[in-house]
């Protein structure tokens, strides 16, 4: 899975996000660092923010396309 596909999934899940960044950490297409800044996170605890990202990437997480996922989220408030 390439970083662009992950980015599309995140942009679809967080429309209007101020920032979506996806890094393929190893170049192998399965270790990703994702950073999302969105109003969708405003008022949510860190764990609920990460839950939203996990939900957006549920399919590639479940089928093993993402082997390792590092998440950084931020609200805009």
């Amino acid at each position: 899975m390439d970083a662009a596909t992950i980015r599309e999934l995140l942009e679809a899940a967080f429309p209007g996000a101020s920032s979506v960044d996806v890094q393929d950490r190893t170049g192998g297409g399965d270790h990703f660092q994702v950073t999302v800044v969105s109003t969708a996170f405003d008022g949510l605890s860190l764990i609920d923010q990460h839950r939203r990202v996990n939900e957006a990437l549920a399919a590639p997480l479940a089928d093993g396309s993402i082997h390792e996922l590092r998440i950084k989220t931020k609200g805009t408030a």
């Binding site: 764990i47 990460h50 590092r70």
Partner: protein, 120 residues
């Protein structure tokens, strides 16, 4: 014998700080599990570790209980704190230590132990 689901639920409910990880604190098999452990130890947490690698069913049952898809998973007094990223973030902001102080008291022991699940 208790089912795997019951054994996992028991560890989560009964252990002050439960960490489901790849490997054990003596032999860590994944960078993220290492990060979570380091953050917990820096915050002065006791650790009860469960290795999820011996059987794929462990991870499956754990994720069905917690609703969290990735490993490691850190629980304090039965409550999911998060994975490696959140544990690190909360440790560096001081919130993890505060959470541990509130849940376990400031003069807590810092024991490390490993629980082996019984596989049918």
């Amino acid at each position: 014998m208790k089912t795997l689901n019951e054994q996992i639920s028991d560890v989560i409910a009964q252990e002050p700080v439960a960490v489901f990880m790849k490997g054990t604190p003596q032999m860590i098999m994944c960078g993220n599990s290492h990060r979570a452990l380091q953050a917990l130890q820096a915050a002065g947490a006791p650790i009860t570790a469960v290795d999820i690698l011996p059987d794929p069913r462990i991870r499956r049952e754990l994720s069905s209980i917690s609703g969290w898809p990735t490993i490691p998973q850190v629980f304090v007094r039965g409550e999911l704190v998060g994975g490696a990223d959140i544990t690190e973030e909360l440790a560096s902001s001081g919130e993890l230590q505060q959470k541990l102080d509130d849940a376990l008291g400031a003069d807590r022991a810092q024991d490390v132990k490993v629980v082996e699940l019984q596989l049918a």
